[in-house]
Symmetry: C2
Subunit: 137 residues, 2 copies
DNA sequence: CAGCTTGTAATTATAATACTTACAAGGTTC
DNA sequence: GAACCTTGTAAGTATTATAATTACAAGCTG
């Protein structure tokens, strides 16, 4: 797992403040990464339909209200792995266990992943913003 | 996330068949990794109290019944990360968002992680063994 | 046009993961 | 006890994943 996901949430939180357009360089300063990384993540969010940008013009804008954007939307947008739990790749097909373990684990891991995603779906960007204000005060 | 976790489940599944002692080299053949990796994972499982081994003597034995071992026990045993969702490490402390985003995300990610672990806790090694038999037949 | 922006490909560092070698510690067999 | 197994670990290497950086085309704005 890389940290694109949390970077994406950070970017969206900045946009949700609504205080004028922010360049990728400004955002990069807040996130603590290279501006290219910000533009890359922003690109994914745009392709997922969460925000709008335009070549040459500073800033990005959310395409819908913050309470209509869940952390699961963001998770899917950044192309996060299908399951965070990794199955080893080369079990021996000639062993009864090795031949079937991948299939069995895929099933179990999918269920665990679904539980995690379900929790993410219950949190909106608006709630993140609220929590940030809470902490800041 | 590395694949030690699924390797651990694989090893325990082999032990749970009860068909004689298996050397780390035999197990490695089924799992598809180097014997040293098997011994390393076995070591973690031993330190977590899930199985017993002895230097010089072939094989390992479970310390309790398979229906008393959950996948969460195994997850904890292999020293898996506290949260699979990674927070970016260098947000700008001088920015209202950057200063608090880690804290807020840690909280949300912990909840998602708890949901995942809760699901793992509901699955036992005995059920994995059953599923393997099911597939094999 | 000059100077900014975003979008993206390509390259280089860096870090995480996996593999392998090596060997000590200990058991078993003859 | 000697030869030959085993497990337990440390240390080094290779491979891969991640992040940072460079470079530049495409496009807006004054």
């Amino acid at each position: 797992m890389n940290s694109e996901y949390s970077i994406a949430v950070h970017i969206l939180s900045l946009l949700n403040r609504g205080d004028g357009p922010h360049s990728s360089e400004y955002i990069a300063g807040s996130v603590g990464v290279n501006p290219v990384v910000v533009r890359s993540v922003t690109g994914r969010l745009r392709r997922a339909g969460l925000l709008h940008t335009q070549r040459g013009v500073t800033g990005a804008t959310l395409t819908r209200r913050a309470d209509q954007i869940t952390l699961l939307d963001v998770y899917r947008a950044v192309d996060a792995p299908q399951s965070m739990l990794k199955v080893h790749q080369k079990p021996n097909p000639n062993c009864p266990v090795g031949a079937n373990i991948q299939c069995v684990l895929d099933d179990v891991f999918s269920q665990a992943q679904a539980a995690l995603e379900s929790r993410l779906e219950q949190v909106t960007l608006a709630e993140i913003t609220s929590a940030l204000h809470e902490k800041a005060s």
